[in-house]
């Protein structure tokens, strides 16, 4: 047995690998459990399903609540989720949708049964899965592993960033090693190299969709710019790509959720904080970029609008740990999916046309679409509303990773046109035509409330809904992302009318959701 803190540190470092950031059996972002039979990291829900299959098929251990034998840890160092799925999902049709947040328990169960018990999609070319090969025949294991890695090597795109990342990781590992015995040191060196290899091959995945929301034709290479500007603040892991950042953030939220149970996660937390502080800035930068690149837009509409929005982001987004302000912006892929899926009632809908929620590539014409509305009669506000909505949704999205039922509520929220209620709150009424009365901070509610004045009620609702959400959520996100989702939505579903009572509902909903 390894010392518990050492064990957790090792596993945490494994979980930080890009390939291990998603549950092996569904798309949950924070696997905190492991199927030790298959060598995968899985989420809580899937671990329940695995346990139901009984121990002769799969054994489940918790990352931080169980003690792991040394040889098991050793095995996990040689593999990762992405690699293992090369075997288990080798023949999984690309059209097949793996279980996600919304999947019912029975869907998850049937997927897991098909995957591991019926072995429906296994790589028939291989003799056995990697984990059992590792236990029985190391040579064949290495061979199979090499073949999987080389099979994917062509997709590698982000080697430079990766090498930096590796540098950091190696450094950290060195630190850890110093504390360990000399004997252990010799063991680990060759493994690191193997690790790097694997890492390189899958890392390319998340970086693909980075061409994001704001990459108008006129804003080339935004990502590079951003990274250059802020790289001082980032540790090497965040320096990867914005998409990678986003993934990391998501997983952080998860860690937070469970950190009560962790003894030794402190180190990781400090890292999270770094990132979190940086990201909102990045996003504000995003916004500025956007404005700079589309001056028409800014001139036509009250400039105040811009500032108030930035204000809101700055004041509320920045202090928040998880960053509702930027989540959506940074991962356009997800964002658009969500948006499309969740807001059939809004103006943007046409722009999104028949976009389906799929995990496929983010296509160029889709990038342009959301902003098509900007030029139209609905103008800037519409854009804002779109932005805010996405922020909002993105933010909410972090929640359900732990609690599936909440996701559905969120969707309802997205669809719900009742956001109108925000347009009619008392504060707004007291500044009827004063678009952005006070720019100075503090009264952010006023700013936001006044925003809708510029536009049609419907859009106002969008705008306001987004901003308010952002605000309220800013403070809570750290631990209660799940709680947030629930409350936010409960509240929003409250009513259609514009009366203040409804507003109360909204906030009480938010509060009650905080646990």
């Amino acid at each position: 047995m390894v010392d518990m803190t050492a064990q957790i540190r090792i596993i945490e470092s494994l979980l930080r690998q890009e390939q291990n950031k998603e549950c092996a059996d569904c798309n949950s972002k924070t696997p905190r459990w492991a199927s030790t039979t298959f060598g995968t990291f899985i989420c809580l829900r899937c671990s329940g399903k695995h346990r139901e299959l009984q121990v002769h098929i799969t054994k489940v251990k918790s990352v931080n609540l169980d003690k792991w034998p040394v040889d098991l840890l050793e095995m996990y160092k040689h593999m990762n989720n992405a690699l293992l799925n090369c075997y288990w999902e080798a023949r999984l049709p690309s059209s097949y949708q793996k279980p996600g947040q919304n999947s019912t328990p029975s869907e998850v169960m049937s997927f897991i049964t098909q995957k591991y018990v019926q072995k429906k999609w296994i790589d028939t070319g291989a003799k056995a899965d990697l984990a059992s090969l590792y236990k029985t025949d190391k040579k064949k294991f290495e061979k199979l592993k090499a073949s999987y890695i080389s099979g994917k090597a062509g997709k590698d795109e982000s080697e430079e960033e990766e090498s930096e990342d590796e540098e950091e990781r190696r450094q950290r590992r060195k630190d850890r090693k110093e504390k360990k015995k000399a004997k252990k040191q010799q063991d680990e060196k060759p493994q690191q190299e193997k690790f790097q290899k694997i890492q390189k091959q899958t890392q390319s995945k998340p970086s693909a969709p980075v061409e994001d929301l704001f990459s108008f034709d006129s804003v080339p290479q935004k990502n590079q710019i951003l990274i250059d500007d802020f790289s001082d603040f980032q540790d090497s892991q965040t320096a990867n790509t914005t998409a990678a950042n986003n993934v990391f953030n998501n997983s952080n939220a998860g860690n937070d959720g469970f950190s009560d149970f962790q003894g030794a996660a402190g180190q990781q937390h400090s890292q999270q904080n770094n990132q979190v502080n940086v990201n909102p800035t990045l996003n504000i930068q995003n916004l500025y970029n956007m404005y700079n690149q589309s001056p028409n837009f800014v001139q036509q509409q009250a400039p105040n609008n811009k500032y108030s929005a930035l204000d809101a982001l700055g004041q509320y987004g920045a202090p928040s740990v998880q960053g509702p302000a930027y989540g959506g912006i940074q991962n356009p892929n997800q964002q658009f999916q969500q948006q499309n899926q969740m807001m059939p009632g809004f103006g943007q809908q046409q722009a999104f046309g028949g976009m389906q929620q799929n995990m496929g590539a983010y296509q160029p014409q889709r990038q342009a679409d959301p902003f098509a509305g900007l030029q139209g009669s609905q103008g800037q506000t519409n854009m804002f509303s779109g932005m805010n909505m996405t922020i909002n949704l993105q933010y909410g999205q972090t929640g359900p990773q732990y609690q599936n039922p909440l996701q559905q509520q969120q969707q309802q929220f997205g669809v719900n046109p009742n956001l109108n209620q925000f347009a009619g709150n008392p504060q707004q009424n007291s500044f009827p035509n004063q678009a952005f009365g006070g720019l100075s901070g503090g009264h952010n509610f006023h700013h936001q409330h006044s925003a809708p004045q510029l536009i049609k009620p419907n859009n106002a609702a969008n705008l306001y809904g987004g901003l308010v959400d952002l605000n309220n959520l800013g403070g809570q996100n750290n631990m209660g992302s799940a709680g947030f989702g629930q409350s936010g939505f409960g509240g929003f579903q409250g009513g259609i009318s514009n009366n203040p009572a409804q507003k109360k509902d909204v906030f009480s909903g938010l509060l009650s959701g905080q646990f």
Binding site: W33, G48, E52, D66, F261
Partner: protein, 191 residues
């Protein structure tokens, strides 16, 4: 004989007394599933317990508050804090998990040597008897080194075969432990 028994029962009801039981055992043994089965009378597949589940159930018309604790290794440390405030302990075993029987045995030995835990009846569910390779009750008793405890004149330890999926043995087990708790309470009041 019947007289004192009624007395005890009367007293239980009049005082509105409530038993507290704790369900412990290795992870994935079926603790939460047993509790759900007893409480809702249906089989519910559950995710690993984080923290504790509490349910009120009724056995032989007695209200029982049951604490279902998590079984992961790190969480086993908290078991002992419950021993002082409960009337009985239920230990659940996965009879199909032959590799971890010894791990379970260690935990049971800890239980039997704990000053507070050995004061109360201990029911051991040899659960998952529906599995084809499940270890049967008598064999399990032997493997766990409990033969001498079970063969006492008034045993405070019982190994009960069970299957929450098939609803086998659960009620018997709970009835045994309730009887034994009542009996122990009666003995103590006589002294």
């Amino acid at each position: 004989m019947g007289n004192w028994f009624t007395n005890v029962w009367d007293r239980l009801f009049n005082e509105k007394r409530e038993f507290k039981l704790v369900i412990i055992g290795l992870d994935a043994a079926g603790k939460t599933t047993i509790l759900n089965k007893m409480r809702f009378d249906e089989y519910i597949n559950s995710a690993p317990t984080i923290g504790v589940n509490t349910e009120d159930i009724q056995v032989k018309n007695i209200n029982i508050k049951v604490f279902d604790l998590a079984g992961q290794e790190k969480m086993r440390n908290v078991w002992k804090y419950y021993y002082s405030s409960i009337e009985g302990i239920i230990f659940v075993l996965d009879s199909g998990d032959t590799q971890r029987i010894m791990e379970a045995k260690d935990e049971i030995q800890n239980l039997l040597t704990n000053d507070e835990a050995k004061q109360v009846p201990i029911l051991i569910f040899a659960n998952k008897q529906d599995l084809p390779n499940a270890i049967r009750g008598p064999e399990m008793t032997d493997m766990l080194g409990l033969v001498e405890y079970v063969n006492k004149k008034t045993p405070t330890v019982k190994v009960q075969e069970s299957s929450a999926v098939q609803d086998r043995g659960l009620l018997e087990g709970f009835e045994w432990i309730v009887d034994r708790i009542v009996q122990l309470a009666q003995q103590r009041s006589q002294q």
